[in-house]
Symmetry: D2
Subunit: 424 residues, 4 copies
Amino acid sequence: MQLEAYKIADHNQKALEAHQRKLSYWTDEIANAEPIIQKLIDFQIAIPSWALGTGGTRFGRFPGGGEPRSLEEKIEDVGLLHALNQSSGAISLHIPWDIPKDGEAIKSLAASFGLRFDAMNSNTFQDQPNQQHSYKFGSLQHVDRAVRQQAIDHNIDVIKHGVALGSTSLTVWLSDGSCFPGQLNFRKAFERTQESLQEIYAALPDDWKVFVEYKAFEPNFYSMTVGDWGASLLFANKLGPKAYTLVDLGHHLPNANIEQIVSLLLMEGKLGGFHFNDSKYGDDDLTVGSIRPYQLFLIFNELIEGMDAKGMNHATDLGWMIDASHNVKDPLEDLLQSVEAIQLAYAQALLVDRSALEEARDANDVVKAQEILQEAYRTDVRPLVAEARRRAGGALQPLALFRQLNIRQQLIGERGLKTIATGL
Amino acid sequence: MQLEAYKIADHNQKALEAHQRKLSYWTDEIANAEPIIQKLIDFQIAIPSWALGTGGTRFGRFPGGGEPRSLEEKIEDVGLLHALNQSSGAISLHIPWDIPKDGEAIKSLAASFGLRFDAMNSNTFQDQPNQQHSYKFGSLQHVDRAVRQQAIDHNIDVIKHGVALGSTSLTVWLSDGSCFPGQLNFRKAFERTQESLQEIYAALPDDWKVFVEYKAFEPNFYSMTVGDWGASLLFANKLGPKAYTLVDLGHHLPNANIEQIVSLLLMEGKLGGFHFNDSKYGDDDLTVGSIRPYQLFLIFNELIEGMDAKGMNHATDLGWMIDASHNVKDPLEDLLQSVEAIQLAYAQALLVDRSALEEARDANDVVKAQEILQEAYRTDVRPLVAEARRRAGGALQPLALFRQLNIRQQLIGERGLKTIATGL
Amino acid sequence: MQLEAYKIADHNQKALEAHQRKLSYWTDEIANAEPIIQKLIDFQIAIPSWALGTGGTRFGRFPGGGEPRSLEEKIEDVGLLHALNQSSGAISLHIPWDIPKDGEAIKSLAASFGLRFDAMNSNTFQDQPNQQHSYKFGSLQHVDRAVRQQAIDHNIDVIKHGVALGSTSLTVWLSDGSCFPGQLNFRKAFERTQESLQEIYAALPDDWKVFVEYKAFEPNFYSMTVGDWGASLLFANKLGPKAYTLVDLGHHLPNANIEQIVSLLLMEGKLGGFHFNDSKYGDDDLTVGSIRPYQLFLIFNELIEGMDAKGMNHATDLGWMIDASHNVKDPLEDLLQSVEAIQLAYAQALLVDRSALEEARDANDVVKAQEILQEAYRTDVRPLVAEARRRAGGALQPLALFRQLNIRQQLIGERGLKTIATGL
Amino acid sequence: MQLEAYKIADHNQKALEAHQRKLSYWTDEIANAEPIIQKLIDFQIAIPSWALGTGGTRFGRFPGGGEPRSLEEKIEDVGLLHALNQSSGAISLHIPWDIPKDGEAIKSLAASFGLRFDAMNSNTFQDQPNQQHSYKFGSLQHVDRAVRQQAIDHNIDVIKHGVALGSTSLTVWLSDGSCFPGQLNFRKAFERTQESLQEIYAALPDDWKVFVEYKAFEPNFYSMTVGDWGASLLFANKLGPKAYTLVDLGHHLPNANIEQIVSLLLMEGKLGGFHFNDSKYGDDDLTVGSIRPYQLFLIFNELIEGMDAKGMNHATDLGWMIDASHNVKDPLEDLLQSVEAIQLAYAQALLVDRSALEEARDANDVVKAQEILQEAYRTDVRPLVAEARRRAGGALQPLALFRQLNIRQQLIGERGLKTIATGL
């Protein structure tokens, strides 16, 4: 299904008066409301193709209904999101879950929804039916050259699919590691992984980037070969200028200061991409902003500071992606909540009075520095975000409209109740 | 397949001389070797029926071969383990993964391997095909009375299966909880769960116990309704004298002092059962003793102290069970390693000079207290454990014999390479 | 020094127009602004006498200037805070750091600032000069009866001081525990502690409560005898109806769900008091709301829900206290920030549409439940909090006024630059 | 006091028969006992001068008696340790706690006890009396050039003291960081720290190394500027070939895989030094091996693997130091326990059959790899360690002899009961 523009217009019309009242209050209160709205319009977050169905844990999975049965239907879902919020204008594919049979056709379909293809994701953490070698003991790190070659070839294959779709980046997340002390020679595993990555790197087109994602634990339970930002940065530096680190919010040890990591990676010119989600215990892949919204704001605060210091373009110089899983919520509703939480944090971080902040820091005025951040964070920027959506053609209240239009019910009608989307 | 006694005898004969040399050294060095060996012989650890196949994570599963295809073959597997180590004389079933069609026949089959049935486990954390109500939003805590009733009925059904098999305890592990702030009214969820448990409790035969297992997180990622020992103890106390807490080593927040929890629960007379495994990050379900063997020893130190203080029988007054998952190891080999690690920790804890320890504590001699524990822990008790196995009819080196006899290859021959056991 | 009312009036006059503009916007947007303002006026947070000087870590301490040199000056400091925000109308004393030589005089002095005395705190975690027995190995848990008696007597002495000041509660925080495996018999330590607490309990006046505070770790590094809410609740239940658990936000293991603990303790009728602070790693004692403001909101959400369910009075039926330490900030500025953060979280939690929330929960509408909480949390309630202050006679912007009036410089002038307040 | 050799000889004579019995059993059981004993003799662990007195927490400090009152007495204490175990042949000084007034005399005194000077430690985490600038807001990171210069000068001063004593390395541990979000510009703090370190680096003599120690949290509670191995390695790489990372076991986030970090740092040729201690929750600075002895073994397993791969000399190519604090134990007894725990772990790691381990890894035989490590770890290597001590002239049972000779009582007699050693 496709969302007709008039439905959004109708919805906005009804909500307009209340919206204008709030907006006019806030544009009076906030000095730089207009440029913030413009930046919000420009800011697009890629939706992962694997997050359009119901996720699960190793204990179970409780599917909803109307899940997309094909890549085409996944694109349709992202199209729906984008129609609603005008901020989800990209899709991040996962191979082999979403192999495009006809690249051109898929690209056109996506374009018809205003979507482009963000980072391509390879998968060497699962065995596929009829796969020659198993990844049970790793892929790019594997002791057996043949297994490594299979994994390398797969990544190169993913790049090819990406080229066909107009993507310009590859995310390599490796589950490689070990479950028990003794299982792995850490050093050799690192070196084999590096060699494998070099072969993939060599296959990158000139305008491509590769993101080396790290993760502290799970699915391996003793060691992960790309376990933290230190290891990822080592790989990225050894690989070359097209290699970057990718930060996924859920991939850290308890209590990690992620915003500091973001700052250091930007300082080194090696932050390439970002996976948004939220978590309380581990890699919980919950809705962005649902658990630690202030941390999200602090991260955006560093992203803006660091990108501005390097003259980077917020909208285009980093890969912005959601990586979440939806166990108990409707995937589309969850993604609408996630995108909004990202926009709110971005808008609040844009509100920070940076020159006053640097002044407070130079005076070691800790109280003032905190006040400056909290002043921005405590501001209710929802009207600005809504206005950005409205101007771009989206809905003032995307989630409310999604429900009013019974979109899930329509999807169930089209696709059935017991469909299952490929993915985790 | 069944392991013929002569194979074990042959194996032991070959290893006997070296074993005797070690044993005689240690029986000279250790004052109370003989009673320790006897206690080791008496100590049996239940094998969970769901741990006989290859496990996995939400990311993937890499099966081995020769996995048991039926409850009968699972019993056969535990029989093999027990033949090898004479310490796995019990099996813990999971319903509905292992519904016995003919209770008497299953009981006889198990008895033919020298096995009895330990705690029965219910499953309300997954939906089964054709199940009327879904557990997506909980089972015993569910807002809908009908769902709760379905879960209650299931538990009562599990008790009935257990009665038929001669089991005398029920383990209730609930995944009930919530994934997001706001989702659940914690208090009402607790009260509904309590009411549901009371109905199950009412169905317990006179000589049965119910174990209320707790877990800090996962599969729910924000709250678990039975989240820690405090909550479990509240339930157990409200339910009555047949209700107990069950401790699973992997179900705690980072850095928890599990041995202290064990001590307090024993003090309150409310520790009922134990699930052994090991972990580094979360509920990793790794081989017992593979990550934190000293913690395992400290836990046994408290178990012995607390049970002795109440005049409890080590072998029979607590439910001893393994709860592990085998992602990268042969399940039977893994379980042999786990049972041995438990026996070593138990033997070391039996070595602790308790009167000297209490004396050091009364003198606040912290250095001495540590020395007493380390003296026991640093002792190489492997010959005592081997001797206990030998005397009971088991193998001096179970894992070595398992490999020499090519047992896995034989099982693959009998059952096939692509079998999949029910379970996680 | 005492803050003259006209200075506050002047300050408010200048800020009034902007304030009225914001307030009138929000009272239009929010349905129940007026009762929220009233509740904010009634809500008072006790200031701990030990938090008026600069704190430190084991590595060092960097004092500021003008710290209070006596109990009288500490009361003066709290009086200043209360004059500024009209929400700090109580003080929580620590014995022996703040022994009142003349109870009546101290009580009068406090009353002259509009202050009452909240919970009294005993100290058996440090040795005082000329103390007969050392608490090196514990106090109420100590193996030596004479040490326990000394600690019991001290607590009874603290009660007497409290009676003289009009306090009606005693907070017992024990650092008792152990640093090494083996050091302590957990069970006996628990039982000795319980016996000691019973003697203290017996000395409580009829209208007094005793709060048993728990802490997961530090200053002991292996075990804490009152280590979590489960242990604290055991003590409180064994002691009787005047005994309660006290929750300090920083006293938990990583990732603990504190709001669920709050809910369960309220369910059991055993939550007595609350220590506010914030932290990222351990018991960091940072400014309230500076690290995890959403968690603070979720806790207030449970406090309101649970207190309302029992018909409790928000303002008077729990002991509300700050317990913080100020290593790099001016203590008074830090406390102003903390009190404001508490008020904001309380106001946001009062905004939650509770009937809609229960409805969403009954429908398992997780998305909606989250939206309801976020709707409240994202609201900018600062004008309501400012209005509550203004109506009560406080300053619209307490921190700004504190700085404009150069209060710290005045205190340094009166007290000197190198004063050191008693406390940590 | 100095320990006369005949007392050790007497002690050894009495214990010799039992020792020989154990030793001969184990030298029969173990293939390579002799080279392991030799390596143990060569292996020396530096004792930190600040660990010879009783430590404490921010909550209190409970001194023992007979603590060293001067640098000379500290050297005497380390001399006692070394006489007892012949494995503590080095001392690590902390400036300004241990400023040697006469370098030559101190060097001679140390030599008379067979001691050399290991890494020198600077201190810019505390303010000293009469210090011009405060480190309240950092030292090498400070926004004020004058403060940085003071800290740089101090470090250069420490190098000079070290040169006089024959030391060849400087450990820089910075408490620099921030307590609150907003306080610090992470990037600028990093860059200022780097510039400061470069000036210190420039002052290093040719044969010196500088160790950049990292720590995850505390004393700062929000960010640490050298917070993990990734940040430390960045500094070390930017500084040059004389700069290395130093790993302190207690300086990590919960659940960190320290052994993997060790392996990667060795791979990069950038591991320079090691601080041993143990902990359960944070930087608890407990006795080595008292909480996680298997982790200690796994770390030594990586140290040996990585050093051997680079052809490094175990005894001399890394700085081996203890960094512990003794709150409830006699410092000298605690250090004897720590050194023994290190030796046991080292000996067990030397026992690992490395070629079999690599073979198992190449075959992905996880079970076998675990067995190989556990085989080594479960071996009772205490007789080998005792034999190494005996051959080197130390005591078979250092702790027992320390107590039999009433050394602490003698020290109290000489120095008094209420002495306090400089340090934390």
